[in-house]
Symmetry: C3
């Protein structure tokens, strides 16, 4: 490596810049020599991420300092942290050179064994509990849950695959890796692999770097070069890793907006969203634990599904969880009906009675063996209600969930009505479905049916679950559920009229 000639000046400016403003402890924070070496060049090459990291808690506190906290305000869940890193700020080197042998993307870089892709295993050095919990979260399996399910893969191909027309004949190609990465796998996560290395000239001399496939990606179920699944930065956006970001709903909106899973859209027209958008300027998003009624006065996504919440007298209302299914009895994201939550985060193992990789039967009913039972559902609902009860009465809370039950039942009924029409079309040969070994997702009438359960029934249920009725009435909700059934019937009649 050509040594940067302005080494000392840069180093000085780095040190000078390091009197973190918002420190709550009196101790000095040192950067490791390794990290100082990284910053030396990268503060010029990538000033944005270095500057972003400088604003982080990682830059302002060492693991040792963080581990002095032993109460609910503790952020480092690991009991022990390696000697080598514990008295330095958590800088570039502490993460990007961790576990070098595990990382197939490790490469020699100016004398260091560096890897690009930081993974849950790397984060677990300090945050072991969160990493473990996350492994039980459906999200960590999001890649395989899509890719290893042949039924869902046929949906992906029918959406992402390219089509061409010659002499009015349609040819459909299965989708390619780049397109999947740019579509479904953006959220589900790609498989990141080293495909080759290349040597490039830089201002700092010649460098040999790995070229990754499936890169860039921050998907929640990313398959990493160290074999782990997930990406902590999907929500804890690098390089500031601010808990404020993870707690605000815009973070979740990246993958939960719609029309398939319109949680963010619903939140934005809910009373909770209304309060958030009008008062969040007065809230404290950094306080740990998070005090209901003091730090914030209406829930964000994280408050209901993830965060450690306490009341002002210090009582725990709900414990932090990164296994976000913990408080979810039902999966209101219909496949194709809303259903009891899957037992295992790996849903690719599910088979319904017809042998389809679906948690429900096409004609209604659940693949029970793979789904949680009534007592687990009661337990989860009760966990969720604890959050509700911190602001609402028992009567309010029960009334809310009773209504959701009605909506789940009705939206499932509306999906069933639509599905019966499609099954009839398959039986009459008006469309080709699984009974003829064809994808149930590729033809025009099948795509219309997809809209019923994936967009309209889901929107209706999310609107109910999160109190944003606007979405469940006209905006992709009940109006379109009822319209869809009528149009499916009209299509059947037109086919009959055409003598089919």
């Amino acid at each position: 490596m050509a040594r940067n000639p302005c080494f000392k000046v840069v180093l000085l400016s780095v040190s000078m810049a390091f009197i973190p403003a918002a420190l709550s402890h009196g101790d000095q924070v040192s950067l490791s020599d390794d990290t100082l070496t990284c910053i030396e060049c990268h503060s010029t090459i990538n000033p944005g991420i270095v500057g972003d990291w400088r604003k982080s808690l990682h830059a302002a506190m060492t693991p040792s300092q963080a581990m002095k906290k032993t109460g609910l305000d503790r952020l480092v869940s690991s009991r022990e942290v390696p000697e080598k890193i514990k008295d330095y700020a958590v800088g570039c080197a502490e993460c990007h050179t961790a576990n070098p042998d595990r990382h197939k993307d490790t490469f020699e870089h100016n004398g260091y064994q560096v890897h690009t892709v930081v993974t849950p295993a790397d984060c677990s050095i300090c945050h072991i509990e969160e990493a473990q919990q996350y492994g039980d979260n459906l999200m960590s399996h999001a890649y395989g849950n899509l890719q290893a399910n042949s039924l869902y893969r046929s949906l992906v191909d029918s959406i992402n695959g390219s089509m061409s027309i010659e002499d009015m004949k349609l040819s459909s190609m299965p989708s390619d890796a780049d397109t999947d990465a740019d579509s479904c796998l953006y959220c589900h996560g790609t498989e990141v692999k080293v495909k080759e290395t290349r040597t490039i000239d830089t201002d700092y001399g010649e460098m040999t770097l790995p070229v990754l496939s499936g890169w860039p990606n921050d998907g929640v179920g990313r398959i990493n070069p160290d074999g782990t699944m997930g990406s902590c930065t999907a929500c804890h956006t690098r390089h500031q890793f601010s808990i404020e970001t993870a707690r605000k709903p815009a973070t979740c909106s990246e993958c939960h907006k719609g029309p398939d899973v319109p949680a963010y859209g619903v939140y934005s027209v809910s009373k909770h969203g209304n309060i958030y958008y009008t008062k969040e300027g007065d809230w404290n998003f950094k306080s740990v634990p998070w005090t209901v009624g003091k730090d914030f006065t209406a829930p964000t996504c994280a408050a209901c599904h993830v965060s450690l919440l306490v009341s002002e007298d210090g009582k725990v209302i709900s414990r932090r969880t990164h296994s976000m299914n913990n408080r979810l009895a039902l999966r209101i994201f219909g496949l194709i009906y809303a259903h009891s939550y899957p037992r295992s985060p790996d849903t690719s193992i599910i088979k319904n009675k017809s042998g389809l990789s679906l948690p429900t039967e096409l004609a209604g009913g659940e693949a029970e063996n793979f789904l949680i039972d009534g007592s687990e559902k009661d337990k989860r609902l009760s966990e969720m209600k604890k959050v509700c009860l911190s602001c609402h009465s028992q009567g309010w809370t029960d009334g809310h969930f009773d209504r959701l039950d009605t909506t789940v039942r009705n939206s499932n009924d509306m999906t069933l009505a639509d599905t019966k029409i499609l099954i009839s079309a398959w039986e009459k040969g008006l469309a080709e479905g699984p009974d003829r070994n064809d994808s149930p997702f590729n033809e025009a009438i099948e795509k219309k049916w997809i809209e019923q359960w994936l967009f309209y029934a889901n929107s209706t249920r999310f609107a109910s679950a999160m109190g944003g009725a606007d979405y469940g009435a006209f905006n992709n909700g009940r109006f379109y559920m009822s319209k869809n059934i009528r149009e499916m019937l009209e299509w059947m009649e037109a086919q009959r009229n055409a003598g089919k």
Copy 2:
């Protein structure tokens, strides 16, 4: 009641916590003994709402103190306030034990006569003018305006009702109360009634509580257990009741987003919205009266429709009104055409010449007897223009409203063209409409027609009225109005071709 053993400690912590930070007056604020008793338990049971209320002006000021203000900054419009409450902060008991005899939901609770549902009559103890004005607001009648109109009820049933298919035969059920509450009535308001009482075990002993039907709900036209109509907390979100919340557009977005009434969506792409989203951090949302150009530099929903606005020299630009129709000459929300505003807030009394409960004729024209006349329209438009003129020239303002007139006319024409096609379909027996005593809203082609006036024409008009052109061009606007007519015609031709 089992007396809470930690009574004194809690009470102490409550009192200690009560040196409200943002007080503008030097006087001490006391809580009534009744309110202290509520807080004693509920700060533990529902810490969120107690904490939220602590941030409120209600917690920081007594009615007596508020009534010392006699100018435009006065917030208590009642001339007198009962002795019993006037020298205490407005706490739990002051609202939830008011008017006990009027409230059918009153129940005995630890020696108090408490009710759950606080109503406009309760709020009117201090805010009499606002409650009275609100009674003239169409919104206060939103429940009956939907439920007592058989035509609109048939629309509701066609959207919310569940459907099933047996042997390819469709059965449609009318909608159920839970679904209506989760859909239309979320905004319009439910009828809240005591359906039974139940006795539950709590940490504080056994309690007998009323179970309410139609609950939870905060709809603007809610029928309350004391017989009043409306819910002040629809906009003045409890328990902080912050004027900041009511003045910010996210509050209105809960019910005015779309696609039927896309006011918020339009605002968000208007120049006004543009200014709001980029500068609101510098604005003062709490100042009363609200000074144009100083406290804020672009209108929110409230600024144009509700708020008391003054110029920096103290001149009143527009008076506060909770009868939000005051500045609206036209109802651009088409039923099925945009029309002169209804005279009475109770629109269920309207009948057009064909006997339909519609403010317009299906084939065009207004049900004039029920709508305001030209001079009232001029007066209202002139009131609205006063707000515009505080930032815009007369030429700008007139140009804007001239264009709106064109858009109203054109969008009504596009609705008429669509309606003529549907009427022809009814006449030819291709669909069943009111002439055969069938709902005009249930069949596929009728639902397509609904989209024309309820989504596309409305979006086009709101985009024009509020200067968010994006919504009126492609996003549910003119593109879809023109497409809809062409598709309706194509459908008619296909029916003809099918020999119908």
Copy 3:
């Protein structure tokens, strides 16, 4: 003019109010006598805009003071500024009485030659470079690029034109000027002309004022009464002209939301948007130059396309440009395919090989002579990547743009498949297209085809280009591209079945 009796008092209050709070220099700022005269009345007539301007940098600094800055923090690009204005704050008179002879909208007003419409030529007195750059921006030609292109005009007519039905016969009218101004030209810009003058009574006596046609308007390509093109206030919203507003994405959202050009919608679900919405409260939007990683930690629209960006060590990452095409190699807004960027900002001169005013051929291929070549594309892409590299590695950045290439190719293929179906329909006489001198945009099936390239393919590409995958999957993206082709084919088959 009747002299305002409270002249002195107003004047005094104006002067008193003028100790601008946020001044960074010690010098006194005077208002010109002309501006003081304006404010004398207009602070009462239009308090909003006067108050808004008071918060501006224009009100707090004279051109002379601004010109003392000679580094990257300089905001006045002109080398010389007229003597008459340079030692006064930039007030009402400085802009609204500039270049009186050039302005056809100049009118005599209380002894002054005033014009309503401030134009790029007026702004260029101090901001010459920005005005010149903007002339090379496609946006400055947005009026003619739409109005002088007969093909696009037929699209406008098919969308904005009014329709009527008599005896089930459709009549279509071309669109009228008011509707165009309320729709497409809201963003593209109107032609603003003096159509007449009128004399009105005001509180200050009788006034004769010009009445403008095409007014109000702030479109980016507005044709002004002085012959210039554009409106600086489209983005630099008057009268605060805050750089904060121009740098925030809500400003761009006014015209770039969708579904035709969903840049804002995509941004809002991108990781960049996620960071912006959760952290922007901590950013410095006023600092010039704008320091990556310090002032802000994720790009807004302006950061990538317009702003002068530096790293913390003062190195320029990208220079300010108001010719926003500078970093755009491809125009991903398909017409009808994504294509190499046009050479000239005047796109009305483009003709493809078939003689259509389109930058691409209907059946695929580019109108190369009018579009930039490979080396210019490489140069522009490299400029854009400089911004990316300030936070991302070369591998990340290259991977991102490789994926965009795939998405451009696939979305063009999906448009081609759809177009081939339509061309076949034209050939078979199932619809009337350009080969029969009919608009390709007016029939139902043609409108379906428009959705393919204008909504679905565009959404897919914007989602890819800006990393907001949600938009490219279900929300107007790939799901709908594939559905559209299947439905177009089904329509063809139904036409065949109907014996056509």
